[in-house]
């Protein structure tokens, strides 16, 4: 367990059954359902990368009863995990292209694995330029600080940070994410932008990107809905003819635009 922000922790899970651990594979962007037995179960994006004997990692913000219970657990506690579920970021399709990764607040959780996938030295040259824009309310709320150096030092990679409100030690940007997008003007040419964060931030960030010439099909995000079963039965995550747990959580905004409903 690692404190990421005052209300966000990174949980590392090791599977008890070695055979299951051995056979577990997942893709970037998939999610799993984590149980605190006696409290309940909730869906979280997997923040780690699939690697032999690596821990499963989840970045969890304290927002409700279940996340509260997770946050209060001690190192070494036993939780349950079901998964992996859902689709993934099509990383192979992104090869050869530039990437803009924009995360607001806890929206950085699913994006962390995207960034770590691209900056792996063995893989880095398969991708073009990488722009990471990580924003939060305050400097303390910026998640994954322990990895900023690794990200920023990767070739052809630019890490930009911004906060809504600075503090005495903050020397960086104080600006809203959409404004930073307008300032940095990433080129839509051969580029995919992945945006995750609160609905209001997504709305204005998409507008800024579209103004720069990004098409809906170049804009990718994760749809956050309530999920209970993870296997397309419980109906909680139904949006249009899609079940986010089966067909998502990763969608292009061209697909999201066809949902009829705003989610």
């Amino acid at each position: 367990m690692l404190d990421l922000t005052p209300d966000m922790k990174l949980f590392s899970l090791r599977l008890q059954d070695p055979a299951v651990a051995e056979s577990l594979h997942y893709e970037v962007g998939q999610f799993a359902l984590v149980s605190v037995f006696g409290v309940g179960e909730a869906a979280f994006d997997i923040s780690s990368l699939d690697a032999p004997r690596a821990a499963l990692e989840f970045a969890v913000r304290r927002v409700g009863t279940l996340t509260e219970a997770l946050h209060e657990m001690e190192e070494g506690s036993v939780v349950g995990v079901r998964g992996p579920f859902g689709n993934c970021f099509p990383m192979a399709e992104y090869e050869g292209r530039n990437l803009v990764v924009i995360g607001g607040g806890s929206g950085m959780a699913p994006l962390r694995s995207v960034v770590n996938y691209v900056v792996q030295p063995a893989r880095r040259e398969r991708f073009g330029q990488l722009l990471i824009l990580n924003g939060a309310r305050t400097p303390a709320d910026l998640a994954f600080k322990h990895e900023f150096e690794k990200w920023a030092s990767s070739p052809q990679t630019c890490l930009e940070l911004t906060v809504d409100r600075g503090d005495d030690d903050w020397r960086g940007r104080v600006a809203l994410i959409p404004d930073v997008v307008r300032e940095l003007k990433p080129s839509p040419l051969d580029c995919v932008a992945i945006v995750c964060g609160p609905p209001i931030m997504i709305k204005f960030t998409l507008k800024a990107l579209k103004d720069l010439g990004f098409a809906d099909s170049q804009l990718v995000g994760t749809v956050e809905t309530k999920m209970k079963c993870g296997i397309g039965k419980c109906g909680r995550c139904n949006v249009g003819d899609k079940y986010v747990c089966l067909d998502g959580p990763v969608f292009t905004f061209a697909e999201i635009g066809r949902f009829l409903e705003e989610f």
Binding site: G38, E41, G64, C229, K233, C234, G235, N238, L260
Partner: protein, 356 residues
């Protein structure tokens, strides 16, 4: 398919035999309504019942279902699955409710299958009871391709009333169940009852798409109370919640019915609710049945049983909504139409009501 006859007494004798080998679940009269309940005395079965208030789906997808019990051990948990369901005979199911189970099958049995539902489904024999009359004033099964004597979704269908029933054996499972019954040859299907409701359902998916942003939904939702009755009494609604709860000292993970008409259904832990208005939730009820489910599973998720219309405390009537949708002005997604439509709900019924 072969047709035979059974007398009322022969039927009761056979059911006595059935009840000795399996849990017999049939409609009984409780406080003036009909419910499917396990049968203790064969005479309790309401052979001439109209329609059950709660659909028999509750015996395959119960309102509360224990997924597993949780025992806390030292640094570990033991999860115990519930006891397996024994053999069951669901007797007296109406053709519409049987059709609804076939619709639920598409969802619950799609890979990965829902094992609790699947196990119960495999262990259940369906004995249908054809409708000798229109059961609810609001029912409209024939508008959706069903019928009061449809045998397609049951193992055995009984038709008739009073002293004799015509027996249609539809499956091998049904044939086996009937062994031991005193059947006579030469059963003839009684004439089908005439049903008063013809509701336009063709092209509804497209109508819903076109009317998606219509202020019609706001007007309809004006009188909606936001209870979950329509979804709980619907034989095809399948949404549920999964939570852990304390049961006498140990924890259980249970899944319980839940419905899209509750504001809490889509509300996220952080407080954001993508379906925050009654209008959006009511539209979801219709769109899921007539647009989304057909897109995904190829069938309309409604059998026209009429329960939602019949029991709605404020007369939100699916027949009326479907008719209105046929004539509704077009307000497709993104057209920016948000103004309150002046045309009230139910305009398709004409002025006769306004001057009543």
């Amino acid at each position: 398919m072969t047709a035979q006859r059974i007398t009322r007494q022969g039927l009761l004798d056979w059911l006595n035999g059935v009840a000795a080998k399996a849990t017999l679940i049939a409609p009984v009269r409780v406080e003036g309504i009909y419910l499917f309940r396990p049968i203790v005395k064969i005479e309790d079965i309401a052979l001439d019942y109209s329609q059950s208030t709660v659909p028999p789906k509750e015996w395959l997808f119960p309102r509360s279902d224990t997924l597993f019990t949780i025992e806390r051990l030292d640094r570990a948990y033991e999860l115990k699955p519930p006891a397996a369901a024994g053999p069951r005979v669901l007797f007296g199911i109406r053709p519409c409710d049987a059709r609804a189970l076939a619709i639920l099958d598409r969802l619950f049995l799609a890979e990965p299958a829902d094992n609790l539902y699947e196990e119960r489904r495999q262990n259940t024999v369906l004995v249908g009871l054809a409708c000798a009359r229109q059961q609810l004033p609001e029912c409209f099964c024939t508008s959706l391709g069903g019928g009061p004597q449809e045998a397609a979704n049951v193992d055995v269908l009984l038709a008739g009333a009073g002293e004799a029933y015509t027996v249609t054996v539809a499956t091998e499972k049904g044939q086996q169940l009937l062994s031991g019954a005193t059947l006579r040859d030469g059963g003839e299907m009684p004439p089908a009852p005439s049903l008063s409701n013809q509701v336009p359902t063709a092209g509804m998916a497209e109508r819903l798409r076109l009317a998606f942003n219509s202020s019609y939904w706001q007007r309809l939702a004006d009188r909606c109370l936001g209870c979950k009755m329509c979804t709980y009494l619907c034989p095809t609604c399948h949404c549920f919640d999964i939570r852990d709860c304390d049961v006498g000292g140990h924890a259980e993970r249970v899944r319980c019915w839940d419905g899209c008409q509750s504001a809490l259904f889509t509300k996220l832990a952080g407080g954001h609710n993508p379906r925050a208005s009654k209008a959006a939730r009511l539209r979801q009820f219709y769109a899921h049945k007539y647009l989304y489910f057909p897109e995904r599973f190829g069938v309309t998720q409604c059998v026209g049983c009429g329960r939602c219309a019949h029991f709605c405390p404020v007369n939100i009537d699916i027949r009326e909504t479907l008719r209105d949708l046929q004539t509704l002005e077009v307000c497709p997604h993104g057209s920016g139409e948000t103004a309150r439509r002046r045309e009230p709900v139910g305009a398709a019924f004409g002025d006769s009501r306004a001057s009543a």
